[in-house]
Each structure stands twice: as structure tokens, then as C-alpha cells.
Amino acid sequence: MIRKRSRVRTVLIHAVLIAVTGVTLFPVALVVRKSLTPGNEFELSLNPIPPTVTLEHYERVLSARDFAGRWLFGRQLWNSFVVALLTTIMGVFLASTAAYAFSRFRFPGRRAGLTMFLVVQMFPATLIMIPLYVILDRLGLLDTVAGLVLVYSTTAIPFCVFMLKGYFDTIPRELEEAAWIDGCSRFGMFWRIVLPLSKPAIAVTALFSFMTAWNEYILAETFLNDELSQTLPVMLKHYVGDKSADWGSFAAGAFLVSLPVMALFYMLQRSLVSGLTAGGVKG
């Protein structure tokens, strides 16, 4: 039986939540306001509603062209999208197969492998970045989508493997044993039973892979020289770089870049809670 709450208590909880949400959203609101008000500098006002609305910053960001008249924003959006999508596919595929093996098989090197996947999280990026550049260059993958996808999916894998392995562990083995008796193959068990049952965890894995690729900045900045092959974050950072400080365009760009990830979070928020914890970080 569920306890009845007193009215005062409910009001109090709402008050606290509204206050926290307000504080959390305030910076976001300021960015949105900046993106809609004219001028490149921050201005002295705390009112999140812009005094005059202009879309010039969005127009500027969206229509950015290089001197040859090629549409930079379009190209970079496409790059970001392709990189993120391929990373998601690669990341989910690689992480789910590895996680399945870690969860269902007992083999020598299993512990060592799991430990390695955990330890890899601790490698400082600066330690890896420089040699990675050389390797990508050797493989002829600098300035290419393929190179970036490879790097991103491997950096996303360790966390995803851990999350998925934990989730797979919670799926009863009896289901697979029954399928085995009915003549299902090993791969069939993985494909027809385990994967469909772990939809929330797969969704979260996909979300993380996508986010890693979509939001990443430092590696992209290092590995991409040609502005036509750059991703959106690299371009965006330049708006407030050393040579210019255009906060209006930055705000507009930031909002545009954040939008898809926010939408994904919104769509997947139910899976997020169950996928991340049901097995997830536990294992």
C-alpha cells in the first residue's frame, strides 16, 4: 500500500525541484537568448527573454561558406552525421558481440580482458593522441570519415561493453538453454534472444556511441585539417577562438549542435534509466 503524502510535503518537493530545474536551465536559457539577440558580446541582462529577436546568428552559422562558395555548414553537418551514425553502428556491433562473449563464455583471458576494458578508461587522452595521429597517418586515414569512425568507436567501446555485459548478465540463461534444445545455433541465441531482450541497453549503447562521435572535439580538431572534412564541433569552437570572439554565432551553433542529442535523450529517457542501471554500471 502506498502512503498518502501530506499536501505540504508535495508542495515542498515541487518547490525544490522547480528551483533546481530553474538553476539548471538558466545557463541554457542564456545561450538561447544570446543566439537570438543581435551583437557578438554578452550583454548585461539576466532576463532570459530576448528584447529583440533576430535570426541573423542562425543565418550566419547556417550559411557559412568558404571562399570557393562551398557550403561549409552543410558539409560539416553531413560529416558529423555520417561519423556519428557509422560510429553508432560500429560501436553497438563491436560492443554487443564482445559483451556477449564476456557474459556467456568462460575462457582464459576473460578476466584479463575485462580488466583491460576497464583500465582503458584511465588512459589520458593526451597520452594516446600523438601516437594515434601517427598511426592514422600511416594508414592513410587522416582527414577521413573512416579514421574518425574507427577512433571514436574504439574509444566508446569499453564503457559500452561494460554496460551491455552487465545487462546481458541479468537475462536468464534458461531462455538460451531452451532455444539450444530446440536446435538454435549459438549465433541464433545471441541474435534472436539476447539482443531483442536487451533493447534498453542497446539503445543506451547507441546513444553513448552517437554522443561520443557527435560531441567530440579534441581528436577531431587534431585529425582533421581540411575544413571540408571537419565536423561541427571543430568549426563551432573556432567561433570563439583566438582570432575572433563571436558569441552570438557560437550560441546559435551550440544550440543547433546540442539539439539532436537532446532529442535523442528525450526519446530514449525511459531506456536510459533501465538500460544504464538494470545491469549496466552494476557490472
Binding site: M1, I2, R3, R5, I13, L17, V20, T21, T24, L25, F26, V28, V31, E43, L44, F67, T97, A98, A101, F102, F105, F107, R110, R111, L114, M116, V119, V120, Q121, M122, P124, A125, T126, L127, I128, I130, P131, V134, I135, R138, L150, S153, T154, V161, W214, Y217, N225, H238, S244, F250, V257, S258, V261, M262, Q269, S274, T277, G280, V281, K282
Partner: protein, 595 residues
């Protein structure tokens, strides 16, 4: 009897391999001496070419005066082995985007090469695409390095030629002059691909064992391990290589590249030799352990499991493990003006002893470590407490609109890190920042956030708390949902207070789910580069830098001390590894995460 014989043969064989290894190393050392002489001769030529170019450019550069310069440059060609002279102009690519650089070819010593814009993907007439791309990259790099000053920069040539460059700035456009000439003689080298091949062949031996029988099997395992060791040793020693055409201001990437492609074992005579010898001494023991045999039979037995893991493991190996090992190796070298020198443990000693700075100096390792630990602790504490508090408020099933709250509170997580950091940096601006304006409402004078340690540190912590609490909130929410409600009902019946319920039921049951998240969160926070680098940027005077930003500064800002940076990174890794091992051991009682 036969067994003993085989063992004896094995030992002899291994010692043979050891002798071979030592021979290879000695040969490498000899090569190194020879290369040194070549490098110095090539450098003499570089000095000479630069001097001549300086003379030719006595005419000041600028709009309208390019013709004179072109004539002067053309005259240089052919002199003293100079093959190619290029003059490039870099400028903003479009009126709105000053940071996107377009590079024009202004003049070329070869009259057939037409001047015009130089694009990475659209090569001009006589220039082949890789050359055009290389020039483009190089021009932007030289320009960004030299700023407004008239400085010289010398990128390495790809192999067959040497290059020098120089940037001159004049009213928004920069000019970059490049010279290429034939080297006196190119130092020989062992190609990196060859080394990798040796490694792969070495690792392939144990796999081949399954098709072999008897004594061949033993031979294969010993051969495999030793060849792998040779590959590793040579690869490592390759880093000691002094890039033959290196000079001040050379890009590290190119250096490493040439160090790899011409990876002659030239550095660290003593230490590399000792390392190889040690590996050789260890070989017989490895052989007796039958490592190769065991691995082969295990691979046979568990091939399905390995097939599932292989794709991920392969990717991790190439793109994470190899760079990591190279990074670790780099910590034993010192990089100065494009040369790598084996210094053994010197970098670590310098860092750990503070390098002559007092413990209150921001550059002191222990000071930075203290800041890092405080930073990690405070952040994780705030993340967990705020996340948990919100999760407790949101878990109430009767709460109206909790879905909306949850969506809105997750937003900071969805915003890219670097955007969050830059956004908060703007909010902490002394004059225009929102934070000071809010404080102004309470009558607090405008705080100059980044000029005092504690205020700058606070700014960093606030930013990181904002972006990090949603993760903990979501984890705590999920964990709370998994606690059965009957427990609370039973506690209620027994008359337990809310506080007792929280400490006796909620916390203990949350622990297994929260602990891994806390470990992961602390590792992430410990290495949180974006926030520190973009919000406070280490201000004031580098005191708010944490270990990872400090390492980055040593590598890319302060004199390109890559070796020192790598040593820093290695220490970071060791600290985190130790931390995880200890917490895991402590947590083992709670739940075995590995099983």
C-alpha cells in the same frame, strides 16, 4: 630422456636468438653514430640555405612587391642544391570566417607551376595532390606558430628532400617562404612497417603450432616469443631516433613519423641494450612455461568466444593499446628541438622531485596532484549528493510531472562538454558574466573570478558539477527503482524513522550500483580536460591546472616537452589504476563486478 634433450636444444636455441638480438642492437648503435654525422652535415646545409634566402628577401615583402621577391627567389634555385623555392600567402578563407585559412601559392621556383589558390583537395596544375596538401598544412602550421614575429621554422622533409620555412606577417596576411633542397645523404633506417611485420610474424608462430608436432612445436613457440620481443625492442628503440632533418619548431607529428619510418635504433645505447638483453634472458623461462602451446590450445578450445571478442579486441589493440604503449615509451625520452634522447627515468625523477620548485609552486607535481585530488573529490561528492538527492525526490510514484523534471534535469548531460565549458566561461566573465550579475543583486561587488586560486577553482567546480550531476541522478534513479518497496513497508511497520530507512535500507542497497558509477565518475573527473582548460585555463598562473592539463601544456605549449608530458600521463594512469584496484578490492565484499 627425449624431453631433456629437447630442453637442452631449446636453451641453446634461445641463447642463439639472444646473441642475434644483441648483434642487431650493436649494429643499430653503429648506424646511429653514422647518422649523427649525416644529420650535422645536413644541418649545415640548412643553415646555408636559410642564410641565402634571408639575403634574397632583404627586399621587404608586401602587397605589390611580390614581383621583386619572385625574381629574387627564382634566382636562388639551383644554388647549393636548392631544388624548390615556394612563397605562399595565407589569408582568411572567407570574409566572415577569419580562422579558416586559405593558402595561395604566390611564387614557385619552377616557372611552370602556376600561382593560385592552394587547396588540400584541389591541387593546382603542376603540383601533385599530396604535395599541395603538404604545402597547405605546412603553411598554416608555420603561420600559427610564428604569430607576428619573423621566425624560422623547419619542418622535416618526407625523406628525399629537406625543407625550411619562414613566416612573415604583414597586415593580416602572412607570407610563408619554403625552401627544399637535396640532402647531402639520407641516413638509412629500418622502416616501421617492417618492425610491425616482425611483430606480427612473431605472434603468428604460436598460432602455427597447431599444425606442427613434437619438437617443431617448441621451436615455433620460442621463435614466436623472441621475434615478438625483437619487434617490441626495435620499435621502442626507434623512438630514440633523431629525426635527420629536424630543427627548431618542427612539428612533433612529423618527427614521430620520420622517427618511425626511419626507426633506426640510435638512442639509448645503454638502456635499450640492457632491455633487449633482459628480454633475451627471460626467453628460456618463457619457453619452459610453454606459453605458446597453452595459448594455441586455448584458442582452439574457445574459438567461438574469441571469435565474438576479436573485432572489438582488434580495434582496441591497434587504436588504443599500441598508442598507449608508444606513449608509455615516450616517457623515457627527452624531446628537445626535434631530437629525442633516451634519458631513462630522468623525466619521472624531475616530476616527482618537483624539478627544483617548492611545493607551493603551481608547476610542482605535488601541488598539482593536490589540486587534482581536491578537484576530483569535491566534484564526485557534489555529483553524488546532488544526483542522489534529486533521485530521491523524483522516485515518488505519486509525484506529478516527474517525467518533465527528469527530462529537463538531464539536459546538461546532453550538451557537449566543450560547449558547457565555454558557456560557463562566459558566465564567469567579470563584467558581462551572468554570475556576477546575480551576485550583484545581492550587493556583492563584481568578482574577478580568474585572478584568485579559490575563485577560479570554484568556477571550475561549479561548471563541472553542472555537467556531471545528471549522470549520477540517472544511475541513482535506476538503482532506487530496483529496491523492493516491501522493505520500506516492513520498516514502517517496525516503526523505523525516515532517516533510519535511508541509512539502513536505501544506502546499503544503492551501494553496489553506485560504487562502479562513482569509480567511473572519479576517473572521468580526474581526466576532465575540457572544463579546466576552457573555463579557468589554469589561471591564475597555472595554479588551477590539474594533472591532465599540465601534461597537455608540457606537450603543446611549453617548449614541446613531449617526453615530460608522456611521463606525466604515465603517472596519471598509474594513480588511477591504483585507485581503481584499491576501491575494487574494498568493494569486492559488496559484489564481484568481474564475475
Amino acid at each position: 630422456m627425449a624431453r631433456r634433450e629437447a630442453e637442452a636444444r631449446g636453451v641453446v636455441l634461445t641463447w642463439l636468438i639472444a646473441a642475434l638480438l644483441m648483434g642487431a642492437t650493436t649494429l643499430g648503435l653503429l648506424l646511429r653514430e653514422r647518422n649523427r654525422a649525416l644529420v650535422s652535415r645536413n644541418e649545415g646545409a640548412a643553415e646555408e640555405a636559410l642564410r641565402r634566402a634571408q639575403l634574397a628577401l632583404a627586399v621587404p615583402l608586401g602587397e605589390g612587391r611580390e614581383e621583386d621577391t619572385v625574381a629574387a627567389l627564382r634566382a636562388l634555385r639551383g644554388e647549393g642544391g636548392i631544388r624548390e623555392v615556394v612563397l605562399l600567402r595565407t589569408r582568411a578563407a572567407s570574409p566572415e570566417l577569419a580562422f579558416v585559412r586559405a593558402v595561395d601559392l604566390v611564387a614557385h621556383s619552377d616557372p611552370e607551376v602556376m600561382p593560385g589558390p592552394l587547396r588540400p583537395r584541389a591541387a593546382r596544375d603542376a603540383l601533385t595532390p599530396p604535395r599541395a596538401k603538404a604545402l597547405y598544412d605546412w603553411a598554416t602550421r608555420v603561420e600559427s606558430r610564428s604569430g607576428r614575429d619573423r621566425t624560422w621554422s623547419r619542418p622535416t622533409g618526407g625523406g628525399e628532400t629537406l625543407e625550411v620555412g619562414m613566416a612573415l606577417a604583414s597586415k593580416g596576411t602572412s607570407y610563408v617562404l619554403g625552401l627544399r633542397w637535396a640532402p647531402v645523404e639520407q641516413p638509412p633506417g629500418v622502416p616501421a612497417l617492417g618492425l610491425v611485420l616482425i611483430l606480427l610474424v612473431g605472434l603468428g608462430f604460436p598460432a602455427a603450432q597447431r599444425f606442427l608436432g613434437g619438437r617443431w612445436r617448441w621451436l615455433a613457440s620460442a621463435g614466436g616469443v623472441s621475434l615478438a620481443a625483437v619487434g617490441c625492442g626495435l620499435l621502442l628503440a626507434g623512438f630514440a631516433a633523431e629525426a635527420p632533418t629536424a630543427g627548431p619548431g618542427t612539428g612533433f607529428f612529423q618527427l614521430l613519423q620520420s622517427g618511425l619510418s626511419q626507426g633506426v635504433p640510435r638512442g639509448g645505447p645503454g638502456m635499450a641494450w640492457v632491455a633487449v638483453t633482459l628480454v633475451c634472458l627471460a626467453l628460456p623461462f618463457l619457453g619452459f612455461l610453454g606459453l605458446g602451446n597453452r595459448a594455441a590450445s586455448a584458442a582452439r578450445q574457445h574459438r567461438i568466444a574469441f571469435a565474438y571478442i576479436l573485432p572489438a579486441a582488434l580495434g582496441m589493440l591497434v587504436l588504443v593499446m599500441v598508442p598507449f604503449l608508444i606513449g608509455l615509451g615516450l616517457g623515457f625520452f627527452n624531446h628537445c628541438d626535434g631530437r629525442y634522447e633516451w634519458v631513462g627515468l630522468d623525466n619521472f625523477v624531475t616530476i616527482l622531485s618537483g624539478g627544483g620548485t617548492s611545493i607551493t609552486d603551481p608547476l610542482n607535481f605535488w601541488f598539482t596532484l593536490g589540486v587534482t585530488l581536491l578537484w576530483t573529490f569535491l566534484n564526485v561528492l557534489l555529483h553524488v549528493s546532488i544526483g542522489l538527492a534529486l533521485a530521491l525526490l523524483l522516485k515518488d510514484p505519486l509525484l506529478a510531472g516527474k517525467g518533465i523534471y527528469r527530462v529537463l534535469l538531464i539536459i546538461p548531460w546532453a550538451v557537449p562538454n566543450y560547449i558547457t565549458a565555454l558557456m560557463w566561461k562566459g558566465m564567469f566573465h567579470q563584467q558581462f558574466g551572468a554570475v556576477n550579475q546575480v551576485l550583484g543583486l545581492f550587493g556583492v561587488e563584481g568578482v574577478s573570478w580568474f585572478s584568485h586560486f579559490w575563485s577560479a577553482f570554484t568556477a571550475n567546480v561549479v561548471t563541472n558539477t553542472w555537467l556531471g550531476f545528471p549522470f549520477m541522478m540517472v544511475v541513482a534513479l535506476g538503482a532506487l527503482q530496483s529496491i523492493p518497496g516491501d522493505l520500506y513497508e516492513a520498516a514502517e511497520v517496525d516503526g523505523a524513522s525516515r532517516f533510519t530507512q535511508f541509512t539502513r535500507i536505501t544506502l546499503p542497497l544503492l551501494k553496489p550500483a553506485l560504487l562502479p558509477a562513482v569509480i567511473l565518475g572519479s576517473v572521468w573527473t580526474f581526466n576532465q580536460f575540457n572544463v579546466i582548460y576552457l573555463v579557468s585555463g589554469g589561471e591564475p598562473a597555472g595554479s588551477t591546472d590539474i594533472l591532465i592539463t599540465e601534461a597537455y601544456r608540457w606537450a603543446f605549449i611549453r617548449h614541446e616537452r613531449y617526453g615530460l608530458a608522456a611521463a606525466y600521463a604515465t603517472l596519471i594512469f598509474l594513480i588511477l589504476l591504483g585507485y581503481t584496484l584499491i576501491t575494487n578490492r574494498v568493494a569486492k565484499g559488496a559484489e564481484g563486478a568481474m564475475d
